[in-house]
Symmetry: C2
Subunit: 369 residues, 2 copies
């Protein structure tokens, strides 16, 4: 399955901060076929560093970030469903973000890009869905930040979603989650090449962004999975006892992943998107999470993973309990995995079965109405 | 109790890497009185960023880093014991390290400082103990890296220690522990002011060191303790939606601790000491940890804390099991605490009782022989 990222341009988007962005581009991909009554569309939401290329093989020969879950006969079965994935607002993979050209100045926005929320991201996706002529999504799903967007869809557009599948996610970040993000942001901003966000056409803050990504990668794994993958294995030293000679395999891996990230991600997008995640609080403006989540009327499948210490199961349970407290239709499963937060990207078996079964039941439910 | 850091100079110290450092200074403090038969001396080992000022009030009016555990009537009761604490080799608080003057050049060592091991640190402490006329320590104790040194003392100088109390520690770092250290090192080395370690007399790599410390602080706390201490509380914004305006309290706290650290710690010491910790492996050169730890003949009290995810209890249990496998005298207790790795610095009650009781029994044991 070869795929291609398309771009749609909208005239404008009003943001939560009051600013109106104009124009706004959205990069998206789609897989499978939209059925005649347009009832089989599923919106996939990517996590922090993802993009629209969720499945299939892109023009560069690389599989999508959730290719093991999306495709013919897979969890999100493209023989049955029309699956859409778009790059988030303030991203750097086709959708408008800080690295986009500000038409008012002819230069990249940089730090003048307005603050963006998870709500804004979802509002833009809603424009895309309407543009595609889809009145109601069969489901909206994603892991991590993707789960936050799925939750936001469910409460912001209750009439337009039949189900939501937030995975390894949360209704709001904990202090620890904010703290790890803040370290990444500080690493970027400590890099003189960041230059208060105006580095386009000049040197990228590559060192800072790389350090930020290294922190991220540790939090995405688990103590166990790191022990299995690296242990204390050492690589041959390529020098003396200097501190820049790679020694432990885990060091080499993290440096590699850090430097690799710099080639595909924009440092300012890192800052904007992590802030959007940290500020997200589904309960904000409501007396309780339950009072807020009550706006959602769709069916829910909530998944978490045993070894995920970054988005621990208690955060998923908080969502589940709030839904149950308001008599919403919710299924919850904590899946066993050693992979930490990365589990939602790599654990296919049970996750795919849970998702596949839930979608089939949702489709039946929708057809009955 | 007012205390003062003293400095002893030794002619030289042969290091594991083959280099001989000459001369070598050791900064130390002591509390209480050495008894007539010199049998009541306890060596306290500091953790990564600690120093010789373990107890009492220093000339700057600040209490020692373990003042709640060391003093009259406390866990390490200075009415009964003579307590010593010295700054580690490659540190920056009086003991020779990368910021010390290399007599061969008249300039600070910087990156030309030789690689240092936990074994080297302990060998230097052994010189200090001999210098003080102490033939045998009643106990050697410390948390985190302090515990590694306590273990190393027990196996390297079995005739000179009657007991060891490693707390919240490990016989060797896991991949995750190495990984977090590597992030800190990369943050420092990514700072152009680091200048491959030769920044003395110029600008310190303050931004990199601050980021490194922020990472450290997160790992020293627990998800729970961070929720209790900060939650999602926000501070009044001192600007627009910019990314350098402090927002969440946890962000402000981390930045403050980061910038504070820069005033008292040397970036090169950060690199050298974390490398010494990462390389430390008590089982190295032996077929098993048990075969290595068998060299120790002293009594052990091993302590860990329930919420410490950086040095989890399973690492302490690995030590305990190795000792038990060789029929060594070892008591183990996992203490309940919410404070994560910081627990050994803040949890006084049970920890002090365990330590106090263990020391009293050790003293009796020593007297009986």
């Amino acid at each position: 399955m070869t795929t291609e990222t398309k771009i749609v341009r909208f005239d404008s988007l009003k943001l939560d901060c009051g600013v109106t962005l104009a124009p706004v581009d959205v990069a998206y991909e789609s897989y499978g076929e939209l059925n005649q009554d347009r009832s089989n569309a599923i919106l996939i939401e990517h996590a922090f560093s993802g993009d629209a290329h969720a499945a299939g093989i892109g023009p560069d020969g690389k599989p999508g970030w959730w290719d093991n879950m999306i495709g013919p006969g897979k969890g999100f079965d493209t023989d049955k469903y029309f699956v859409i994935c778009s790059n988030v607002l303030s991203g750097c993979r086709g959708t408008t973000g800080p690295s986009s050209i500000n038409p008012a100045t002819g230069c990249p926005y940089g730090s003048s890009f307005p603050a963006v929320t998870i709500g804004d991201m979802v509002r833009l996706q809603n424009k895309l869905i309407n543009h595609l002529g889809i009145k109601r999504l069969l489901s909206v799903s994603g892991g991590s930040m993707g789960g936050m967007q799925a939750l936001e869809w469910a409460v912001a557009y209750p009439d337009q979603v039949a189900s939501a599948i937030p995975i390894a996610s949360t209704a709001r970040h904990s202090a620890m989650q904010i703290a790890f993000h803040e370290v990444g942001r500080q690493a970027i901003m400590a890099d003189p090449d960041w230059n208060t966000g105006n580095y386009y056409g000049s040197r990228m803050p590559a060192r800072g962004l790389s350090v930020a990504r290294m922190v991220g990668h540790i939090t995405y794994m688990s103590d166990d999975s790191m022990r299995e993958k690296f242990g204390r294995r050492q690589r041959e030293k390529n020098g003396g006892p200097g501190f820049d000679s790679v020694d432990f395999e885990v060091e080499s891996y993290l440096r590699y992943r850090g430097s690799q990230f710099v080639d595909r991600f924009d440092a300012n997008s890192y800052l904007y998107i992590t802030k959007a995640m940290d500020y997200y609080d589904l309960s904000a403006g409501y007396p309780s999470l339950a009072a807020s989540i009550e706006r959602a009327t769709c069916r829910f499948l909530v998944l978490s993973f045993t070894s995920d210490w970054l988005y621990p199961s208690y955060q998923s349970l908080e969502i589940v309990n709030a839904l149950r407290g308001r008599n919403r239709d919710v299924a919850y499963c904590e899946l066993t995995s050693n992979y930490g937060h990365d589990a939602f990207l790599v654990e296919v078996g049970e996750q795919a079965e849970m998702v596949g079964g839930f979608l089939a039941r949702t489709l039946k439910e929708v057809a009955r109405r």
